[in-house]
């Protein structure tokens, strides 16, 4: 579904991502892991069009999409969340989710000003769907809240609801469990599994090893911007390079 070939990104002299290649098959949960600064978020920003690659190609459903703007990628069915939350604090929570459904609605300014027939009805239906999505990701308590008044954990889930509102084909979650407690992490884990079961392709950047190992079909390990290993969770667990570079240190911590 998504094929990345020889992707590189430099900032000044720093190679944030270097010659990375991998393929994400349709309908699977694909995780990207690696120590801090390994280039995971940069990789996400490259794929979702926020950064332009220095070299290499990204193909989505057979078409080259490298360097395309995020809004065009959204039209193709890509959606994502952010590690540093990108919430519109000037809007209510549910409006944030409805922003995610932007492409499904008639968003012409002219139609908006003159209340084009059907516009209000479609918007109401969208509001109901957004409320349902908020229930689904577990922030149903905040349907009438302002985004500015929501706690961190709920905002993380609100981002997932917004990302789902566009009905994406592929969903990128950037550290969905960072800063969450055990119960919250567990519910994210259940949600990801559920989404994958519904046929959505999910790509996850995450530090929480338990979550990664339990939900992923395949895992890509980055280290210093380079691909260190790729395979099923079982492969990764036994890969000596990975253990040396990453898992070893991690298990010692726990």
């Amino acid at each position: 579904m998504l094929t990345v070939a020889n992707l590189s990104k430099q900032f000044g002299g720093v190679h944030a991502v270097q010659d990375v290649s991998f393929t994400i098959p349709q309908g699977c949960v694909y995780s990207v892991i690696g120590p801090n600064g390994a280039g995971k978020t940069t990789l996400f920003n490259l794929i979702s069009g926020l950064y332009t690659p220095t070299s290499g190609s990204i193909r989505f459903e057979g078409q080259d999409i490298s360097g395309q703007a995020p809004d065009r990628l959204a039209r193709r069915g890509m959606s994502r969340t952010f590690q540093n939350l990108q919430i519109c604090k000037n809007l209510s929570a549910i409006d944030n989710v409805m922003v995610g459904a932007h492409l499904t609605l008639n968003a012409s300014m002219f139609a908006g000003m003159f209340r084009w027939p059907g516009l209000a009805r479609a918007d109401r239906a969208c509001r109901e769907r957004a409320a349902a999505l908020m229930e689904r990701v577990g922030c149903g308590d905040f349907i009438t809240a302002d985004a500015a008044a929501m706690p961190y954990g709920a905002l993380k889930r609100l981002e997932i609801a917004r990302a789902l509102a566009s009905d994406p084909k592929i969903l990128f979650l950037d550290e969905p469990a960072a800063g969450l407690n055990h119960t919250e992490t567990h519910s994210v884990q259940t949600l990801v599994a559920e989404l994958a079961r519904s046929g959505l392709t999910v790509v996850v950047v995450e530090h929480d090893m338990k979550l990664v190992m339990s939900v992923s079909d395949r895992i890509l390990v980055l280290n210093y911007g380079r691909r260190l290993a790729e395979g099923t969770p079982a492969d990764i667990r036994e890969n000596p390079d990975v253990i040396a570079a990453y898992l070893g240190a991690d298990t010692e911590e726990e």
């Binding site: 979702s48 069009g49 926020l50 703007a69 995020p70 809004d71 959204a74 039209r75 959606s79 994502r80 952010f82 990108q86 919430i87 519109c88 604090k89 000037n90 809007l91 209510s92 549910i94 409006d95 944030n96 409805m98 922003v99 995610g100 932007h102 492409l103 609605l105 008639n106 968003a107 012409s108 300014m109 139609a111 908006g112 000003m113 003159f114 209340r115 516009l119 918007d123 109401r124 969208c126 509001r127 109901e128 409320a131 308590d141 905040f142 349907i143 009438t144 809240a145 302002d146 985004a147 500015a148 008044a149 917004r162 566009s166």
Partner: protein, 333 residues
């Protein structure tokens, strides 16, 4: 900040009632005000307030809702006014066609400029819009053959299909109607998917673009919209006043519009009306006290931004709501 209320989705219902009450109040005030205005002078003040309010609402769409500062908006008002004046006086166009042409021309100019400058942010955007306004007013002052230069020029009275529009009272209904129409259209826009997209890119351009919103195109769209509204108001007020000079496009006029928006409240339509009332009345109260008007305007700007950074109307409605519901509320209005 707001707490969660009890039942799902009352927000839409509440804002609908609120909308109706607001609109009904505004219409009543506009309809009954002439009865309370003793003479043409006061009608004239009311008309000026309506013009400021429409311009303020249009600028608020750009500044308050979309988050893009403009320090040169009076320039577009001036383009509309001079477009109408020049086309009617030098080319003998009928006022209606002149108005439409001036609005279209301003829209094209705003579009060309916006495509370039709306890539800028913060201070740089402030600088660019400010420069644009100043360039416009310098051109208006210097093209003496067309505009009469700093002395200004006379403008014919407006006539529609041969029927002349004259007298303060008649103009009052025109501008009053325009104000109500602007409020309705602006609220429609804000409540629509397009309006949500504008507010979303104010909140986070990254989030907006990832959600499929073409951030650049949206910014240009709302910039052109608010510039065009300013141009139309410029045309009409030129015909109404019968005389214009380049001062109407100056930096201080642009600042006046910004004050209207921030004093009343960013992202608050009725706030802009409030701001327009204050800015329309103050010069009358301060007439004859030279210098004090400037001091007072300045004080209003500084004190509002420090004490009520969200503006008067949003702060007051938040306080009202919190006393009524017993919680601290601040739903957008």
């Amino acid at each position: 900040m707001t707490q969660i209320s009890q039942s799902p989705a009352p927000r839409a219902a509440r804002s609908n009632t609120g909308r109706f009450i607001g609109l009904a109040t505004l219409t009543t005030v506009v309809a009954l005000l002439p009865l309370a205005l003793p003479n043409a002078f006061y009608v004239d003040v009311a008309i000026r307030i309506a013009i400021l309010a429409v311009n303020g609402i249009a600028l608020n769409l750009l500044m308050g809702y979309t988050g893009q500062i403009s320090l040169g908006h009076a320039g577009f008002f001036g383009l509309g006014a001079y477009g109408s004046a020049v086309l009617t006086a030098h080319f003998g166009w009928s006022p209606l066609w002149a108005l439409l042409a001036a609005a279209a021309m301003t829209a094209v100019i705003a579009w060309g400029v916006a495509r370039v400058i709306l890539r800028l942010r913060g201070h740089y955007l402030a600088m660019a819009t400010l420069g644009l306004g100043i360039i416009i007013s310098i051109v208006l002052s210097n093209e003496t053959a067309w505009t009469g230069g700093p002395d200004g020029m006379a403008v014919d009275s407006f006539s529609l299909f041969g029927v002349p529009l004259s007298g303060e009272r008649r103009w009052y209904w025109v501008f009053g109607g325009l104000l109500i129409g602007t409020v309705i259209l602006a609220q429609n826009l804000i409540d629509s998917p397009a309006g949500r997209a504008l507010q979303a890119l104010h909140g986070s351009e990254t989030a907006a673009s990832v959600a499929g919103i073409d951030v650049g195109r949206r910014k240009v769209g709302v910039f052109v919209l608010s510039a065009t509204v300013a141009a139309v108001m410029g045309s009409l007020s030129a015909h109404y006043a019968g005389y214009i000079n380049p001062g109407i496009a100056g930096f201080l006029q642009s600042v006046e519009l910004v004050i209207i928006v921030v004093l009343g409240g960013m992202a608050s339509i009725y706030g802009s009306i409030f701001g327009a009332v204050v800015m329309g009345l103050l010069p009358q109260l301060l007439a004859g006290y030279e210098g004090w008007d400037s001091v007072l305007f300045g004080l209003i700007m500084v004190v509002t931004m420090i004490v009520l950074p969200r503006g008067v109307v949003p702060s007051l409605t938040a306080r009202l709501r919190s006393t009524r519901f017993g919680t601290k509320g601040n739903a957008p209005c």
